[in-house]
Amino acid sequence: MNALLSAWGPAFESFLIWYFLVLNGLYVLLSLLAHREVYRHLLRSIYGGYEQLARSPLTPAVSVIVPAHNEEVSIALTVNNLLHLDYMRYEVVVVNDGSSDRTMAELREKFRLVPDEAKAEGRLKSRPVRGVYRSERHHNLLVVDKENGGKADALNAGLDHAKHPYFCSIDADVILEADALQRVIQPVMESGRRVIAVGGIIRVANGCRVEKGRVLEVGMSASALVIFQIVEYFRAFLCGRTAFSRLNSLLIISGAFGLFERELAVAVGGYRVDTVGEDMDLVVRLHAHMREKHLGDYAVSFVPDPMCWTEVPDSVRVLARQRRRWQRGLLEVLSAHKRMLLNPLYGGIGLFAYPFFMIFEGWGVLLEAFGYALFAAYWLRGGVESDFAVAFLFASFLCGTALSLCGVLLGEMSPRSYPKARHLAIMILFAVADNVLYRPLTTALRLLGVWDYVKGTHGGWGRMERHGLLRKTAE
């Protein structure tokens, strides 16, 4: 073991240290950029003309597509909330992806579905559709019943049946704010450029007071794992994605909530069913399409206002499944679009975002894991005083802590932040502990994801143990 360690040599150790420094350093720079955006957003008025936007006939209509698989516990509540968003013209397209439970029955009962003769456009392929239904009580609810095919397949079926110029893809277990559609359409209407997709920050619903399908009071869960994720989501969304969007290189819009131009999405072939990273894949393909076909100036925007709340895993087992899937999906998407790497045709994406994701998010996890392992080895060998260990301590832990704190700071500045002072104190504490406890864990999980990818694992979406967040608190 000693021979191995000395064989690597100080050069490699330096390389590792530089890797961490560059990674965290770049992220700190991105955070500074993001800070400016978020702060400006905060200073602007709380009115912003959203109401007028929501009520105008010239604001585009939106199709909200909800793929649902075995969601009998909460589907009725979710769909009811979606039907009462503060937006004038929109439709809700629920796609029952061959559920084996009472999802379809719940929908039929609660919304009085009757068969609908509307023909799908037929431009996107999906698993066979068993039936299309409309609600008697709600004229803007459409339910597509189809055979099981996975989330991407269900979204494609939904896209085929949707009729409005924009669509929102959401997960069946999210809670949308009432003004979510107003806020997500705002960049489309008020940018000087053509906005083809919009993403938003996903907030953690665990521990919040949820009543009648709305988050009434923001609260913090007691679970340490959840709090780590709260800090992580703030960092990832507010520091990372805000900045990337500012550079017009945003590659990921979360599948939990995102808005896209429908015609464009259909033109690029909808969602790919053979990858678990279908949300990122669509965005990357949209970028590619716009640039390759020289379709002019465009933007993929990010809204730092909270519009969507979701339940995050509160057990390591479920977290592991999720992170392995995310890592695998990322690598699948990156490999499918290799041609973008350092290709000036793709502008900021080819020259910065793609290499960044490939090096730091995709494969860099190997270096990170090795760094942590090496540090642990030094520590066990009896001494954190070695140069490497000291440098690692600072490069990885301290820089990482600074980054996590940036995330918490931006979280503080955004609407619906955690109200109590002790919440902030807890988040600061967890931001510090993040790099000691949580980052190594996610690195290990992502490593497993890389292994899954290399091994060629296929298939699906594991089962998320839903605690019936909506249902439980409504009763």
Binding site: S56, P57, H84, D86, M88, R137, K212, G213, R214
Partner: protein, 124 residues
């Protein structure tokens, strides 16, 4: 509470509008009860027996049109005024078709509301 006071039931989720309507109706001698969405419209109407109901078209949970529909299906004949945005004629028609007696445009004009009240309710 003065037994002769008429009761108005206000369904409105925007706190400012609710407040303005409360002032308006209190000035005219009504007792005001309010709710934030139409989910319990039928139950509330049965419990409080209002003389008038004012409802916003857009509310979380259950919006104005659905709530009015519920009430009318239960046989409730209480006069209903629907608050609607000025931009969508279709919504106004839908409100009236489902059973609202009159609509009121937002931003609301107390003079308009007075006129509507006069036409809907016997002088009190």
């Amino acid at each position: 509470m003065d037994a002769a006071k008429r009761i108005v039931l206000i369904f409105e989720d925007n706190a400012s509008i609710r407040e303005l309507l409360t002032f308006f109706f209190q000035r005219r001698g009504f007792a005001v009860v309010f709710a934030e969405d139409g989910t319990d419209a039928v139950a509330l109407a049965r419990e409080r027996k209002p003389d008038l109901i004012v409802m916003d078209l857009i509310m979380p949970g259950k919006d104005g049109v659905e709530a009015v529909g519920d009430l009318r299906r239960e046989g409730d004949k209480t006069p209903v005024i629907m608050l609607t945005s000025k931009n969508y004629a279709a919504d106004r028609e839908r409100a009236l078709a489902t059973g609202a007696n009159a609509y009121l445009l937002k931003p609301f004009n107390p003079l308009e509301l007075d006129r509507t009240l006069a036409s809907l309710l016997p002088p009190g």
